[in-house]
């Protein structure tokens, strides 16, 4: 039977030859990812259900990456990290990246692939909705709650429904001013915030082939903003080069069968795409950046799992170089490695960090989720009043970055950088 990449991965994980959309199956988990805001609750569910002396199903497959509330004086946030440390020690977990130590990484969805924990064909569950990021490397990856995660922790298994596949065929020559973010915001604008509810979103075509791995991650990261269960891209040579540079573990490349049944095809010619924004308060409120030039801004934010990778900062720096920003411009590298890259990556002999500094951006923050989701009151970059923000993050819900009265525009690093220079929403082609 012909199957999609998503179906083939799930069939293997269920020990079946094939699966069909709608079928409920128990799957074996390759990786369970958790962090500081859902980890403590997950651990308590695990202990409540399996006993206080229970052991996790596999200490090498439970990966804990604290990232949300790291640089805060909030006592409960610190208590939560301590409870993770205690659990890691007691369980002998192999992969834990401890804040305040050299092992600290930063945002889990950038750290997980960076550290070689994402491999094609595997099943990844994470206690975070943006776990769908990892489909960019050809894995099945989806977000779950604490209770389901507690179940996985004890058994390595989870009961899931096989999703139907929506296939996005993205072809044509990709203009330099169109990024992964512009592609996914356009798609979400077209299908809506529930347009892919319960579905697998499979991205393919010559435009996807042109994108580097981090840009593919930006696209899969936001599958959840259309309600998708997972986003996925078939591995190619770029994928394999990326993975082999990071892990020696073996894996099996899975691809869709040629005649696999697709629930719906969406065909795009990306050469017609333009730099865009998602207007408040939904990621689906699409508008071309050039049509929103009358929107004055108070701050710009570059960071998060979807918009704080090194390629995001390189894109922003290319625009900002030689200009001054007119508004508060917050820079939050996703991981320590991205932070290092800001010092070592050069454009015309200048580091990204010095380009941003000379442009008048605020001092580069330490890696974490920071203000992408508001967080504790003392979080770097958190909105507190009526400021209008343009951001490379993934959600612009009311109050998402802290203040209910601070509207958020989502955009690519190119558009955010151009807008920071002008102090209003600006199409980056002006600086290209």
């Amino acid at each position: 039977m012909s199957q999609t990449i998503t179906e083939k991965i799930l069939a293997r994980a269920a020990g079946q030859n094939s699966v069909k959309p709608g079928e409920n199956i128990w799957v074996n988990t390759d990786i369970l990812l958790t962090h500081d805001i859902c980890g403590p609750g997950t651990i308590e569910v695990f202990k409540r259900e399996f006993g206080i002396n229970a052991k996790v199903w596999d200490p090498e497959k439970v990966i804990i990456i604290p990232d949300h509330y790291i640089y805060t004086k909030d006592e409960k946030a610190q208590r939560n990290i301590n409870s993770l440390r205690k659990f890691v020690k007691e369980q002998g977990l192999k992969y834990y990246y401890d804040p305040g130590t050299p092992t600290y990484k930063g945002v889990c969805h950038v750290a997980l692939p960076q550290e070689g924990h994402v491999r094609p064909g595997e099943v990844i569950f994470g206690t975070d909705s943006h776990t769908c990021t990892h489909g960019a490397l050809g894995a099945f990856a989806t977000g779950i709650g604490n209770t389901d995660a507690g179940f996985v922790m004890g058994t390595g298994k989870l009961l899931i429904k096989v999703p139907p596949t929506l296939r996005f065929n993205l072809n044509g020559k990709l203009p330099a001013y169109v990024t992964g973010k512009d592609i996914i915001l356009r798609i979400i604008g077209d299908i809506g915030v529930d347009g892919a509810n319960y579905c697998a979103m499979e991205f393919r075509g010559t435009a996807i082939e042109q994108l580097n791995i981090e840009e593919r991650m930006t696209i899969c990261n936001m599958a959840i903003e259309a309600g998708g269960k997972n986003g996925i891209i078939e591995p190619d040579d770029k994928t394999l080069d990326y993975i082999r540079a990071r892990t020696k573990k073996s894996f099996e490349v899975v691809k869709s069968d040629p005649n696999a049944k697709i629930s719906k095809d969406f065909n795009y010619d990306v050469s017609s795409f333009v730099p865009c924004v998602a207007q408040p308060h939904l990621p689906s409120n699409y508008a071309p950046a050039k049509d929103k030039g009358n929107v004055k801004l108070d701050s710009a934010y570059i960071g998060s799992c979807t918009g704080g990778k090194i390629t995001d900062f390189i894109m922003a720096a290319k625009i900002i170089k030689g200009h001054k920003v007119r508004i508060n411009t917050y820079l939050v590298p996703a991981t320590e490695k991205v932070a290092e890259g800001l010092a070592t990556e050069m454009i015309d002999g200048k580091s990204l960090a010095s380009i941003f500094e000379e442009a008048g951006c605020l001092e580069i923050a330490q890696p974490s989720c920071a203000a992408c989701l508001g967080g504790p009151i003392d979080t770097f970059g958190r909105t507190s009043g009526k400021e209008i923000v343009i951001s490379t993050t993934n959600r612009n819900f009311v109050g998402r970055m802290g203040s209910k009265d601070a509207p958020i525009y989502l955009a690519s690093p190119l558009t955010v950088a151009a807008s920071a220079i002008e102090g209003k929403i600006t199409d980056p082609r002006k600086f290209m």
Partner: protein, 185 residues
């Protein structure tokens, strides 16, 4: 969630489409751990505190739970984050069932997996069928929501494939009932 809870009587709170998890429980409260009883109650006291100020208060000043027992909402209820705190906060505030036109997948899944509240789907939008605070009865077995004063009855969709999981009280109860994991000692 046993059968004894299949009838829910109380006041209804009305919401729109796309009620996201940041509206349900703003991220600043995610330092609270739902399994700690005192923090469970606190999460409840912050339920729907992310709503813009033009909404009717879900929880009155100086109260920690809501006067409402059921939420009637539009499409895509609970979109956004996988935070189980969203389901927990509503349940801790006193919500027994949500009746929405549709759900975002993870919220629905978390409601089923935890057994904290019934995620029922209406056949068409019921946002205009009731006024804020209308006394209603939800029968989760029969799949109905009734305006108690007028006795007008609206059909709800059956829970379908997740019905057995809900009936077993969540993912753990279901896995134990079907022999997937051993009984709790």
């Amino acid at each position: 969630m046993g059968n004894d809870n299949s009838i829910i009587i109380g006041k209804v709170y009305i919401l729109d489409d796309n009620i996201d998890t940041d509206l349900i429980i703003p991220a600043e409260y995610l330092n609270l751990v739902p399994t700690i009883p005192d923090e469970y109650r606190k999460l409840g006291s912050y339920a729907l505190s992310g709503l813009p100020n033009n909404y009717a208060r879900f929880i009155k000043d100086w109260q920690v739970t809501s006067e409402y027992s059921v939420i009637v909402a539009g499409k895509n209820f609970g979109c956004g984050s996988s935070r189980e705190h969203a389901v927990t906060a509503l349940a801790a505030a006193g919500i027994k069932a949500v009746v929405a036109e549709s759900y975002a997948r993870i919220f629905f899944r978390n409601a089923v997996a935890t057994g904290e509240l019934y995620p029922m789907e209406s056949e068409k939008t019921l946002r205009n069928a009731f006024k804020l605070g209308t006394q209603i009865e939800v029968n989760t077995n029969k799949g109905t929501i009734t305006d108690i004063a007028s006795q007008k009855v609206f059909k709800l969709k059956p829970l379908g494939a997740v019905g057995p999981v809900v009936a077993a009280g969540g993912i753990f109860g279901y896995a134990r009932a079907t022999g997937m994991i051993s009984k709790k000692k």
